[in-house]
């Protein structure tokens, strides 16, 4: 099956995916000290269950989820808890974190390499519990706790389960390399989730620039015995192909209503990394304490994909990969389109870190801010069908209500408009400001 339909809009930024060279995953050595921020997912921060001086092993639970939308946190090294204090956080600036000093023995809590035979006979509830205990969150970057997403309300059954392997962000190849190395396991995880959700179909969506992954998955599915409803779906190469709503539209033709969730159209989307983490949690009983991270950008001498423990600082990764002898401008967590710029390299890898980019000043060029010439490019690229220039102008004038009425809150902040704008106006920043102001005014009124 070839991708025929696609969503409206989108852009084609230079991919730069080739920087990483061969797509093998290398193991990054466990860090001397791991910094594990308590806030790793959307919702509330988790509550520490260890205190200063406690000995922990790799995979020991160190913080428990607090509230429904929250996640567990496990130690990524074996060693001693030396402090719980405020430290840099890649998303929040600063937040409380558990600091663990490694004893260099890397002792696991249990053996994570042997596959549990009994996994196939588990009930849905048991699987969910395993997932929740393992502290799995959406690894695409949104970090929504996986057990919440996998437990839709009874009146909204899931018919189609989509595995998002689009990885449309430039530079990043972590999902791609994971797909190439662990196709079998991903498929196992996919089958498990599909069974658990009682979904009719399971679509694996992969962008066409990852031909080898598409071929590999197709071949594996043919080999599989119970591959009913399992399908690989090649996607047109463009950004933001991996955005949830756009992906659902491309694959099923259904539009998630404004303000709604994918389950409103009986669809559930999970990132490829999350599916892999689910496999590990259920079949290996391994909690989420490491993930694949792309370290790339033209500022890096040897870009590569690493399997990194959560809590490793960016500094270690960057130094290990080597800095290129160029003018370095930005350090980014995530992709260049939606990633967050960091002010220090002391921040640790968290569950949301899909990539670390060091961009040189010619890649991340600053634009001279010129007047909007109303070229309409932002309108034609907006995948949500908004008029970003209008919205940002309204926000700039302080007319938040007008901005709301023309779709301010429908923006998903993909940044396409900002990328394409020839005048270099900061459309997305104004839209973010507008959202902030709108939520704030709503809170005041309450």
């Amino acid at each position: 099956m070839k991708a025929r339909v696609t969503f409206k809009g989108g852009i084609h930024p230079p991919e730069n995916k080739g920087l990483c060279g061969e797509l093998s995953i290398k193991d990054f050595p466990p860090p001397e000290t791991a910094v594990l921020p308590l806030q790793q997912s959307l919702g509330s921060a988790s509550e520490p269950v260890v205190k200063k001086g406690d000995k922990v092993k790799k995979g020991t639970l160190i913080a428990r989820s607090k509230g429904y939308i929250s996640s567990n946190l496990h130690s990524s090294v074996s060693g001693e808890v030396i402090d719980i204090r405020k430290s840099p956080h890649p998303l929040l600036g600063e937040a409380n974190a558990i600091i663990i000093k490694s004893d260099n023995r890397d002792e696991p809590e249990r053996d994570y390499s042997a596959e549990e035979a009994s996994a196939d006979s588990l009930s849905s509830g048991e699987i969910l519990e395993l997932i929740q205990n393992a502290g799995i969150v959406g690894l695409g970057g949104a970090t929504f706790p996986a057990h919440v997403k996998l437990n839709p309300p009874a009146d909204k059954p899931i018919k189609t389960f989509i595995i998002n392997g689009a990885e449309c962000e430039p530079y990043l190849t972590s999902d791609h390399s994971l797909m190439l190395e662990c196709a079998d396991r991903i498929l196992k995880g996919a089958a498990l989730i599909k069974k658990m959700l009682k979904a009719e179909k399971c679509l694996i969506a992969i962008e066409e620039n990852k031909k080898d992954a598409i071929a590999l998955f197709r071949q594996k599915i043919i080999q599989l015995k119970n591959a009913e409803g399992l399908q690989v779906f090649p996607l047109k190469v463009k950004y933001p192909q991996g955005a949830e709503k756009q992906l659902i539209y491309t694959l099923t033709g259904k539009e998630v209503p404004s303000g709604g969730l994918p389950m409103d159209v009986s669809v559930l989307v999970h990132n490829i990394g999350t599916v892999f983490a689910v496999y590990e949690a259920v079949f290996l009983r391994k909690p989420l304490f490491e993930r694949i991270v792309t370290v790339s950008g033209k500022g890096i001498k040897n870009p590569a994909n690493w399997r990194v423990r959560i809590g490793t600082t960016f500094k270690m990764l960057v130094n290990h990969s080597g800095l290129a002898d160029k003018k370095i401008k930005k350090l980014i967590m995530g992709g260049p389109m939606m990633g967050l710029a960091q002010y220090t390299d002391e921040v640790p890898v968290v569950k949301a870190t899909s990539g670390i980019l060091v961009l040189t000043s010619d890649e991340a060029a600053d634009f001279e801010h010129l007047a909007c010439i109303r070229c309409g490019k932002c309108v034609s690229v907006c995948p949500m069908g908004l008029m970003p220039a209008e919205i940002s102008k309204m926000v700039e004038k302080g007319r938040i209500d007008t901005a709301k009425s023309i779709g301010l809150m429908d923006c998903m902040e993909c940044g396409s408009c900002n990328y394409i704008c020839p005048s270099g106006t900061n459309l997305l920043q104004y839209i973010k400001l507008g959202k902030y102001e709108y939520l704030r005014s709503k809170n005041v009124k309450r």
Partner: protein
């Protein structure tokens, strides 16, 4: 070590397209150069002087206004250069130079800076300048130059003028046959404004714009299609190429109507805009007092751009109509 480096922190996205406003303006200017060159080749050195004066006066006016309004002077972005060039291309080749300068001044100072500068003007500055000159110096604006290498040298008027004032027969007398007329029109060896005569070169320039993604196909295609349809129904098959290749239609459709500032931002709005331009152009050409209607048609549609935008909003994803 990253620590010693100066890290810049911004909101995402961190990469941007290389197609800047500045580059867009220069691409448009470059796309106009073949047509301008043809104008100079056909009409002689005075045409080059007209172009030079218009561009120079535009840039000087832009500088002057920027200083007066205490705004940073934006000569580098090429918008003043482009306005001057476009204005020159829709002026007659023998136009007095001081009038060129005055028109450029009007274009930049009144129709652009008085509205707030680049991005805020309601009317296309070059066309507004032309309309001003038309109002101020009607006689000079309709005095066309005779082409030296033309068979009998009597055609001191554009083909549209001939048709309007002397009728179909005299047009045929000058050009002998349809095929000859269309050939001359297509190449551009007819009377007219400096840059509007050579349809072939203008089409090439327009295609450059579309392929360089400076502009989209919506306005030119809907404009030209409307003209084709209207001319077919009002005059028949002969009228289609005649109306397409005479006057400033190609220049207007590819370079003037597509001016981003004064046209709607939504694709649907751009199509409506193009259709409106086409209808008004044909209305003025067929029923109006002027032989040529491109300039006023586009100016008229410019004035309703906000209205079009209001009625051609894009559909927000996930929102049912």
């Amino acid at each position: 070590m990253l620590k010693d480096k100066h890290l810049t922190v911004t909101v995402s996205p961190h990469i941007k397209t290389s197609l800047t406003t500045e580059r867009m303006m220069w691409i448009v200017s470059a796309a106009l150069i073949p047509a301008a060159g043809a104008g100079i080749y056909f009409f002689g050195p005075h045409a080059a002087l007209v172009i030079a004066v218009c561009v120079g006066a535009s840039i000087i006016t832009e500088l002057f206004c920027a200083v007066l309004m205490k705004k940073p002077a934006t000569i580098k972005d090429g918008s003043a250069f482009l306005t001057g060039l476009l204005l020159a291309l829709c002026l007659p080749p023998e136009f007095p130079l001081w009038m060129c300068a005055l028109g450029s001044f009007f274009s930049i100072a009144v129709s652009k800076f008085a509205f707030g500068g680049l991005g805020h003007n309601i009317f296309n500055p070059a066309l507004a300048g032309r309309a001003f000159l038309m109002g101020a110096f009607a006689k000079e604006m309709t005095t066309w130059k005779t082409l030296q290498d033309f068979p009998d040298g009597i055609t001191a008027a554009t083909p549209l003028n001939l048709l309007k004032e002397q009728g179909y027969d005299s047009l045929m007398k000058v050009f002998d046959s349809h095929s000859h007329l269309f050939k001359e029109l297509f190449i551009g060896r007819v009377g007219g404004s400096i840059g509007e005569t050579s349809a072939a070169l203008l089409i090439i320039g327009g295609l450059i714009l579309i392929f360089a993604r400076v502009t989209t196909w919506h306005i030119p295609v809907s404009y030209i299609l409307t003209v084709i349809i209207v001319s077919y129904f009002t005059g028949g098959l002969f009228d289609i190429p005649f109306h397409l290749f005479t006057g400033g239609l190609m220049l207007g459709a590819f370079f003037m109507a597509t001016d981003p500032v004064t046209s709607p931002i939504t694709p649907k709005g751009q199509i409506i805009f193009g259709i409106g331009c086409g209808l008004f152009t044909m209305l003025i050409r067929i029923r109006g007092g002027y032989p040529e209607g491109v300039c006023y048609a586009i100016l008229l549609m410019n004035s309703v751009t906000p209205l079009i935008e209001r009625f051609s909003k894009t559909r927000i994803f996930g929102v049912k109509r």
